[in-house]
């Protein structure tokens, strides 16, 4: 079950990323150039006979087989694409230049792989090794059939580069075999299928047979000790041999073992004829199974959802249901309710396990595993998809055998998701997990009214009262009245102010969070920021309704707020809830509400840098060790990483990071509407996270989200390691207030 995934340090990830680009762009040409420079004059004639020791007609066999292989290869993706087209239409080819950039960085550049150092390095070695060997083979064909150019120093450099590539690939394959069969890495939880092992064995066989062929050739030609003619008038030179270092060693070893020339020629011929079908077989395989990720994974990255509002993840802005009156089905309950891209997503998953390793639901013992539900859908699609396609081809209707939402993908799986985005952040192929799960929630809620009791109570509460806090003793204006009673007037927004300060339901209606709201208001007043609040006119931003699958309610609430904003002339919004911030920044534009939205940490950081909030020297948090918990919707979904840290730094507190931080943060447990939905089992997510915070030397936990605040407040009381340390939790705004606002003013207010 759950184990703590180690997140590689940013420095290590950077190093591996650099290595990827370095090897791709610099290393290989460098090696070739060096070879050319260093190679001695005497090697000007160096080259090799391409079909040495092989019948001349083999050329035609090779080309013929290649043609067949390419056809077999192409059939694979075409057959799969047929299944994706069972889904609904969706445009995924807008903004082609941006897509090309993404494709270059994350497809060719494999920008997501360094998150797992071992696997990343392993993949890097195999990928570039294999790529160079493939290019090398093409060059050889060009050289042999179109124009001879692999001669002299060029040939020697080429030979060296390919040997290095082959060696790299061999190391990579051995690393993979070790990881899969010796180490038995937890990410391989789903077990090895027949093709996992077959594939690695095949690749190893291709590499070793290739080296053996090279070794025998070098052994019987270049290494024979003197310049000799090996037929076709080619005179080889022993000095060329070290430029094929692996072949050189193998040839030397064979000679040392006393192998006869005939034996070596026979071995050469036998393995040449083994190497050819193995290599071609591998190429054909690229169209199928997990190897197809070479094509489909790359295509999937190209077709990723691009955010029009600059959100980092697809799941930050869910796709709206455009027309409820015309919608055939709300959300996705069956295969045909998903879009072609969603079905393609399902198909390209190669069970790498990165999503699962970072999923807070899975790692606390819930049913949900992002990789698992994709694989379940994939298996189901493979099983019924062809039948459905055939029926559609014949113009017949076909009832799917099972519902996807609630059957193929279990009820708990769908409801366990915290929409934290860890899976989407990790996935090397940019698979969009969250939208699928929310589409299934939409189906369950709006079509079948099936949801956990607590989710139902929350949605009823949101519908009837416009906020999720059942039983609150406060109103949206209580905190304003309390501050007024203490002599602080909080302005009501009337269109003349620069910022609308969006307090949010939690900031107004929950005692603990009201303290953050008050701190924020005092800071804004102190800095002389032109701002106002809506007071009783706020309605829930719609985030909980949307994440709980009631898209209809979301749109009602969002539209109501957008209308209020427009009527009042709102242009800039500052929110201290990352969920409100995200929904207003990335999702309101879908409904015509375009406002400039910032998170309170961003505004505070700006006020500090502008000198409008001055921190007292040696304030009360000076030198205090604090650990900062990145909220998912701030860090991962919206790339806000620096601002909260700047605010913390300004207080003079000393920041110590948890293992999982910044974009690799671990959800507090309250995302995706789960602030109000009971967990389905396992450990409580907030306890796991509080334990992680308690394992740092810090005694103070800084947060920047009202839900995280509540989750940690509960956690520090319930988790023994945190309780023993007497840990406390503060919002960064509260921290800043303690360092900026004079204590007597604070006590008075």
């Amino acid at each position: 079950m759950a184990w703590e995934p180690k997140v590689a340090s940013p420095r290590a990830r950077l190093a591996l990323t650099a290595a990827i680009y370095f090897s791709a762009l610099v290393l290989a040409p460098l090696v070739a150039a060096l070879a050319v420079l260093v190679a001695r004059q005497g090697s000007a004639e160096a080259t090799r006979e391409v079909f040495f020791n092989i019948a001349k007609w083999a050329r035609f066999v090779a080309y013929g087989a290649t043609g067949v292989v390419l056809m077999v290869l192409a059939a694979g993706p075409l057959l799969r694409a047929r299944l994706w087209l069972l889904g609904k239409g969706e445009v995924r080819w807008d903004r082609p230049w941006e897509r090309a950039k993404v494709f270059f960085l994350y497809g060719l550049g494999q920008g997501r792989l360094p998150n797992d150092l071992y696997a990343g390095l392993m993949h890097l070695l195999i990928f570039w090794g294999w790529t160079y060997l493939f290019i090398g083979t093409l060059m050889l064909a060009f050289h042999d059939d179109i124009k001879e150019f692999l001669k002299g120093n060029v040939y020697l450099g080429y030979s060296l580069a390919l040997d290095i590539a082959g060696l790299a690939a061999t190391v990579g394959v051995l690393m993979a075999l070790y990881r899969r069969y010796v180490w038995k890495h937890p990410k391989m939880r789903l077990g090895s299928l027949w093709d996992d092992g077959m594939l690695l064995a095949l690749m190893l066989a291709i590499l070793l047979s290739g080296f053996l062929v090279e070794g025998m050739r070098v052994g019987v030609t270049e290494l024979r000790g003197e310049t000799i003619d090996v037929g076709d008038g080619l005179v080889t030179d022993p000095d060329w041999a070290p430029w094929s270092p692996v072949g050189f060693l193998i040839g030397k070893a064979a000679l040392a073992a006393g192998a006869s020339q005939t034996l070596m020629l026979n071995i050469h011929k036998a393995f040449w004829w083994l190497h050819l079908p193995l290599a071609l077989g591998w190429v054909a395989w690229v169209g199928y199974g997990k190897l197809s990720h070479i094509l489909l994974g790359a295509a999937n990255i190209f077709f990723r959802r691009l955010s029009p509002t600059g959100a980092a993840l697809a799941g930050a802005a869910l796709v709206p249901i455009e027309d409820f009156e015309k919608a055939e089905r709300f959300g996705a309950g069956r295969l045909v309710d998903f879009t072609w891209k969603q079905l393609m997503d399902v198909d390209v998953c190669v069970r790498c396990g990165r999503c699962e390793a970072h999923c807070p639901a899975y790692n606390t013992g819930k049913e949900l595993t992002p990789m698992g539900f994709l694989q379940d859908m994939k298996a189901y699609m493979g099983q019924v998809g062809p039948k459905m396609w055939a029926a559609r081809w014949r113009g017949q209707s076909w009832d799917e055998e099972r519902a996807v939402a609630g059957d193929v993908v279990s009820f708990n799986t769908i409801w366990d998701c915290l929409t934290c985005g860890a899976c989407e952040q990790q996935c090397p192929f940019f698979i969009e997990h969250i939208q699928k799960l929310i589409d299934m929630r939409r189906y369950l809620v709006m079509e079948e009214a099936r949801m956990p009791e607590t989710a139902q109570a929350t949605l009823m509460q949101l519908e009837q009262r416009g906020h999720p806090w059942r039983g609150t003793q406060l109103t949206r204006t209580s905190w304003i009245e309390e501050l007024a009673a203490q002599g602080l007037q909080v302005p009501i927004f009337d269109g003349s102010q620069e910022y609308l300060y969006w307090v949010g339901c939690t900031g107004a209606l929950v005692e603990r969070n009201v303290q953050v709201t008050k701190a924020m208001a005092r800071l804004l007043l102190q800095a002389g920021v032109s701002f106002g609040v809506l007071g009783a006119e706020e309605v829930c931003s719609g985030d909980p309704a949307r994440r709980l699958g009631n898209e209809y309610l979301f749109q009602l609430q969002a539209q109501q707020n957008i209308e209020t904003f427009k009527a009042k002339g709102v242009r800039k919004i500052v929110a201290n809830c990352p969920h409100c911030f995200n929904v207003m920044k990335n999702e309101y534009p879908q409904l015509g509400g375009r406002f400039q939205v910032v998170h309170h940490t961003q505004l505070l950081a700006q006020l500090i840098s502008e000198g409008r909030l001055r921190v007292q020297d040696m304030g009360e948090l000076w030198g205090v060790m604090v650990t900062y918990h990145d909220p998912c919707y701030l860090a991962r979904h919206n790339d806000v990483l620096a601002a909260p840290r700047q605010v913390i730094a300004a207080t003079g507190a000393q920041l110590v990071e948890m293992g999982r931080h910044r974009k690799h943060t671990f959800c507090c447990g309250a995302g995706g509407g789960h602030m109000w939905v009971e967990e389905s089992g396992g450990r409580r997510v907030n306890h796991v996270r509080t334990e992680e915070a308690a394992s740092t030397p810090a005694r103070l936990i800084a947060v920047a989200c009202p839900f995280c605040l509540q989750m940690f407040e509960e956690g520090v009381g319930s988790v023994p390691t945190a309780a023993q340390k007497g840990m406390s939790v503060l919002d960064v705004a509260e921290m800043l207030e303690r360092s900026v606002v004079r204590p007597e003013v604070r006590r008075q207010a």
Binding site: F324, E325, F330, V445, M446, E447, E448, A449, M451, E453, Q456, A457, L459, M460, Q464, R465, G466, R470, G471, T472, Q473, L474, T475, R476, S478, A536, N550, Y552
Partner: protein, 267 residues
């Protein structure tokens, strides 16, 4: 023949209104609606509709009508019940009846059901409305119509022309059967009312709610007299007085405490 169930529902001021927002006009003897806090369907009434829907789930051929008496705002409660799956909605909206007590309410509802909704087989009401908490309208309708009544049940079944209800008692449950037509009042032990499916919400939005005046029901408002007379309406003052019992030893403190409790006639 189809079974016809009539559910009585009411819209009430939100019982979750924060106490600081709850105000009454003592002179007018009226509750002042809290600003910005919308009224909600009385908690037990959608449970009554849930009970009716469960009967329909079991039997299939069941028509469910929802009836309410009050101002236009009560339409929201009816719409909610229609979204849950009820078939038809009726509202008796007559300003002359806005001040009605339980007796007049029961009379009007009974008349409407008898005159306009016959034939009916089962009337379901919540055990009580959560504003005044009197819990008498349901049984009074039964009395007026001369029907058997099973109160405060946690399940409703219709079997062989009879209604069977499981009554919630302090020390257990009691199963009571009555011939149809009958009145049943339901309690929260029955379970959560179902969450409306979006299609039904959209259909409910399009459904017409039939509105009647007292005269439409053949009632003369002048003849309808409240039997309950509201003497005074005020928010009770809660006063807490704390007295510390002083003493040198624990025994002495206990002695003094007992003495004070006896004086206060608490023991």
């Amino acid at each position: 023949m189809a079974l016809h169930i009539v559910c009585c529902v009411k819209q009430v001021p939100d019982p979750e209104t924060p106490p600081s927002q709850f105000r009454v006009d003592e002179a007018q003897k009226k509750v002042i609606p809290a600003p910005g806090i919308a009224p909600v369907p009385s908690q037990y009434d959608p449970i009554g509709v849930e009970a009716a829907l469960r009967v329909r789930d079991a039997l299939g051929d069941v028509k469910i009508s929802v009836i309410s008496m009050g101002p236009e705002a009560f339409r929201d409660a009816i719409k909610h019940c229609l979204a849950m799956g009820a078939d038809e909605g009726y509202l008796i909206d007559d300003p002359a009846l806005y001040e009605a007590d339980h007796w007049v309410t029961a009379q009007v509802l009974a008349q409407a059901i008898k005159e306009k909704l016959s034939p009916f087989h089962l009337i379901i009401a919540g055990r009580q409305a959560v504003d005044w908490d009197m819990g008498v309208v349901g049984p009074t309708i039964a009395e007026i119509l001369g029907l058997p009544c099973i109160t405060i049940v946690k399940s409703v079944q219709v079997v062989d022309g009879k209604v069977r209800g499981e009554r919630v008692l302090l020390d257990g449950f009691e199963t009571v059967e009555a011939p149809l037509p009958a009145v049943v009042t339901v309690s929260n032990e029955l379970g959560e009312p179902r969450y409306p499916q979006l299609r039904q919400i959209m259909m409910a939005a399009r459904k017409q709610v039939t509105v009647w005046k007292a005269a439409d029901l053949g009632l003369d408002v002048a003849q309808l007299k409240n039997r309950v007379n509201l003497e005074a309406l005020y928010i009770p003052q809660v006063k807490v007085e704390t007295e510390f019992i002083e003493g040198d030893t624990a025994d002495e403190k206990v002695e003094k405490l007992l003495q004070r409790l006896r004086e206060a006639k608490l023991i």
